[in-house]
């Protein structure tokens, strides 16, 4: 029997950040993680997927029909050394997870590797410690922080296994399938689908709704859709999945109009979202208040049970690592007795499709509905020198602002490397910036960010290059 002040369940971006912060505050902290610290993000999510996407981009650029040829660079047909690519990718993962382990150690966090089972709000049993089925230990804590994250959602008619894979397996391809069906045209499905297509797989994307990335407007997703076409990715929208056979790799699809049809693929990637691990590991035993499948928390990440906290994906959308980390900071501070609240004005969302999409704050439609009179202006990358020199001029930066005082409510962008604009977007919203603030800031030339300034100018009716 062990006792500690703070016990954190889960070593992902939520859990490890909370652990670092409580430990740094001098509070005895135990972190229980089933596998390696870093969670989905570092091990089987953001990081390996970005590595795969980058590798696929590089490969595709040099290949037949790739963009290098347009620049006058002609290479002989490149070949793919998949094990080497995986090795490089896992090297990055290893470097980052080792880094997290080192940080935890330096901060004085005690990490227990094993399966946590919550017995009550103050007691957790850790089983299979270090993979030894006979090893278990009870830990008593004053504060329990639930950060158990999320897992890929499964379809009832298409369980994972056989030819049916989740993003986890898709990120470590042992061999490249000739054909891949991606079920779900959300950001995970499109990112991976595009990467596989670039590596040479024939990709079909099936989506039940009428467009890709359905949370966002069509103007924003159109450049992505154009690129899907250019990559010869077959897009089956308005199409429902009736049944599937994991062994044969067959799917029966029902389009909105017309007969149902059957398709076959070497692999089927189910990317229909993620479900929170909010009822596993005995968490359900606590009978916490919930919001749908999520654990309900207040602005300090307190659950309905005293001294039980929840952070990260288990607490709701958006299930993003940076939201989880921000919540972790708040919860750790609250545990340490400081006054903090989780009250962001905006949480950026980034999608690493080709081209990339970034969304911060309100979309035009939502702003119109909530605020009423708003200004919306887009500046196309076709008018941006830097985008042209990157040979990636499809896309734009768009700003949404109040008409009365020009306060910026939202930013969206689609285009090359626009993920890096997320910080500027979010900061301007957090700082309550007006269009004039952005327009009056000198933006370096030639950079993509000039389009940000231009969008603000255009919203003010003072567009320079447009």
């Amino acid at each position: 029997m062990q006792s500690t002040n703070v016990l954190i369940l889960g070593g992902g971006p939520a859990g490890y950040v909370a652990a670092l912060r409580t430990a740094q505050a001098g509070i005895a902290t135990v972190l229980v993680e089933r596998e390696r610290p870093g969670g989905t993000c570092l091990n089987i999510g953001c990081i390996p997927s970005k590595a795969l996407i980058h590798a696929a981009d590089e490969f595709h650029r040099l290949g037949a029909g790739g963009q290098a040829a347009r620049l006058g660079i002609v290479a002989s047909q490149p070949t793919l050394d998949l094990p080497r690519m995986n090795e490089w990718k896992q090297g990055i993962v290893g470097q980052l997870t080792t880094g997290v382990q080192a940080l935890l150690k330096r901060a004085g966090v005690r990490v227990i590797t094993g399966d946590a089972v919550v017995l009550d709000g103050k007691t957790v049993e850790v089983r299979n410690i270090d993979g030894d089925a006979g090893q278990s230990q009870r830990v008593i804590c004053q504060h329990l922080v639930l950060a158990s994250g999320s897992a890929p959602a499964e379809l009832p008619m298409l369980r994972f296994g056989g030819r049916v894979i989740s993003s986890t397996e898709a990120l470590v391809p042992q061999s490249l399938p000739d054909s891949l069906v991606v079920v779900g045209a959300g950001y995970i499905g499109l990112e991976l689908g595009m990467a596989y297509a670039k590596l040479g797989t024939r990709v079909t994307v099936v989506e039940a709704q009428e467009r890709i990335l359905p949370a966002w407007d069509t103007a924003l997703t159109r450049p992505v859709q154009r690129r899907l076409q250019a990559l010869n990715i077959e897009l089956l929208l308005n199409t429902r999945l009736l049944e599937g056979d994991a062994e044969a790799g067959t799917l029966v699809l029902q389009p909105a109009e017309g007969e149902s049809r059957q398709i076959q693929a070497d692999q089927i990637l189910v990317a229909v979202g993620r479900r929170p691990r909010s009822a596993e590991s005995g968490i359900d035993r606590l009978m916490l208040d919930t919001d749908g499948p999520f654990i309900r928390v207040d602005e300090q990440c307190r659950t309905s049970m005293r001294n039980v906290w929840a952070i990260g994906d288990v607490t709701g959308e958006p299930m993003l690592a940076h939201r989880a980390m921000a919540q972790a900071e708040v919860a750790a501070a609250a545990i340490a007795g400081q006054r903090r609240r989780f009250e962001p004005q905006a949480i950026p969302a980034v999608c690493y499709t080709d081209p990339e999409v970034v969304v911060v704050g309100m979309l035009p439609e939502a702003a119109q509905a909530q605020v009423g009179d708003v200004l919306v202006a887009s500046f196309p990358f076709a008018g941006n020198g830097r985008a042209l020199t990157l040979d990636a001029a499809d896309g734009f930066v768009r700003v949404v602002a109040r008409r009365d005082d020009h306060r910026i409510l939202g930013w969206q962008a689609v285009g090359p490397n626009v993920s890096e604009l997320a910080a500027a977007f979010t900061q301007s919203i957090e700082m309550c910036a007006r269009l004039e603030d952005v327009a009056g800031t000198i933006h370096a030339h030639p950079t993509l960010s000039e389009a940000v300034q231009e969008a603000a100018l255009k919203a003010m009716g003072q567009g320079l290059h447009a």
Partner: protein, 456 residues
């Protein structure tokens, strides 16, 4: 000024009605963020309802004992800035009150800002206890300060539930315990700047974060920073010097023995029943003092002062018994003169008088010096053992521990007896261990056979 209505919160578990059990505030009270307003009870539990804002109570929404439905108005507060019902146009009552800013002197006192000070410089001087002048109440008045004109509310009125401010301002406000909704913003779009916060704080718009963590056990873990400097002056300095002198000069040894005081206590109660009215109630202490006086006849070397500079031990014929007493200013040792010449009631009376004198500061110099042996007792807090520090330059001190009922083997049977330990320290330079032990055993004999106390 706006009106802010707090509704009966949803306690969860699908409960639609709760009973109002207790109000923690009344009309006209100033409340601060997180302050508990009321207790409400469901079938399962009593829940405290805190205030999310600073403000003043305009009206309570129900009487104690009333069953209220979730979502009904629990309390109406007047707050700085627009409230949450401004749009309903019922802010009228707020006009009449010239309400001061939310801070009050009382709150400042609660935060520990008021200082008790002025210790007597010398133990013999009149131990005057005055509190320092109260904290300047500059923040308490309803001072009119010119506030920059609020920006035109335009279309944003009614949507100010989320104040406009940068993350740094929001965090600072939270740490200061400020509700940003109350702070007028002067930024280009009405956002609250650091300067706005400064101004607001200067006006006393905020309270120190004294209420932080009320009722939140998480606060126990807070790591705190900062060091408070407490000057060691007056009586405390005297105590420090005496203690250090004693421990530096005297090689102490401590001897602990347990005493069966069952009979003594029975006797004491009988004496109190018979004479209590007339002569005053007796505690154990005067009986113990008597036992010491009698034991000192056999062991006069304990009733002494050792002048180690001159190399001479002064044995005293009279027993001037120091009796350690705790006062607000610190430990003092008034002296019961000629304890050998007083009966137990005389001792009891004198001990009471001296204790009172040191506590109210009226003890005279000769009542605070000249003891030849000291008795120390913490009464019910006496513990089971202590290691008393000798009242230098004396050579012995007798410490009294708590009286407890314990199982004791008596004549081969386990019986419940009232037991009390004596923990006594001696100056080993001039008192040998065996003599010390014999002295304590002598005291024990008197206490365990209390008739002996009354035999001359």
């Amino acid at each position: 000024m706006g009106v802010y209505v707090i509704k009966m919160p949803d306690i969860g578990e699908g409960i639609a009605e709760v009973e109002l059990v207790e109000w923690h505030v009344k009309e006209g009270d100033s409340v601060v963020e997180d302050q508990v307003l009321a207790d409400v009870m469901t079938e399962k539990a009593t829940v405290q309802v805190p205030s999310p804002v600073h403000g003043k109570v305009l009206a309570l929404g129900g009487r104690v004992g009333e069953i209220m439905s979730v979502g009904s108005a629990l309390i109406r507060l007047e707050v700085e800035g627009p409230g949450n019902v401004a749009d309903e146009g019922d802010v009228a009552p707020a006009e009449s009150s010239g309400m001061p800013a939310t801070s009050s002197a009382a709150d400042n006192d609660a935060s520990g800002a008021s200082v008790k000070a002025a210790q007597p410089e010398d133990a013999s001087s009149k131990a005057s206890q005055e509190s320092a002048s109260p904290v300047s109440s500059a923040t308490s008045g309803g001072v009119e300060v010119s506030v920059p004109p609020a920006r035109s509310q335009a279309s944003s009125t009614g949507r100010r539930s989320r104040p406009l401010a940068s993350p740094a301002v929001r965090r600072r406000a939270l740490e200061e315990g400020l509700d940003l909704r109350a702070v007028p913003g002067t930024g280009p779009v009405g956002q609250i700047t650091h300067e706005d916060l400064d101004r607001w704080l200067q006006q006393g718009g905020a309270l120190p974060a004294a209420t932080a963590g009320t009722g939140q056990s998480g606060m126990l873990l807070a790591r705190r920073e900062g060091v408070e400097e407490i000057p060691v002056i007056g009586l405390r300095r005297r105590i420090a010097q005496k203690m250090q002198e004693s421990k530096r000069h005297i090689p102490h040894f401590t001897y602990v023995e347990e005493i069966d005081v069952t009979e003594l206590d029975t006797r004491r109660q009988k004496l109190n029943a018979r004479w209590g009215e007339e002569r005053g109630k007796l505690t154990i202490l005067p009986l113990l003092a008597r036992a010491m006086v009698l034991a000192l006849r056999e062991f006069p070397q304990m009733n002494a002062r050792y002048d180690d500079d001159k190399g001479v031990v002064l044995r005293y014929a009279p027993v001037h018994l120091g009796v350690a007493a705790q006062t607000d200013a610190g430990l003092m040792v008034p002296v019961l003169r000629h304890a050998e010449s007083q009966d137990i009631w005389g001792v009891a009376r004198e001990v009471r008088r001296l204790a009172e004198a040191v506590r109210n500061g009226s003890a005279q110099r000769d009542e605070l010096s000249g003891s030849t042996i000291t008795l120390t007792s913490l009464g019910a807090l006496g513990g089971i053992v202590n290691t008393p520090v000798i009242n230098y330059p004396e050579v012995a001190i007798v410490g009294v521990n708590r009286v407890v009922e314990r199982p004791v083997v008596l004549n081969g049977a386990v019986v419940v007896r009232k037991m009390m330990n004596l923990s006594s320290s001696f100056d080993h330079r001039v008192v040998d261990g065996m003599h010390a032990a014999e002295f304590i055993q002598s005291i024990r004999a008197y206490l365990e056979c209390p008739s002996m106390l009354f035999v001359e």
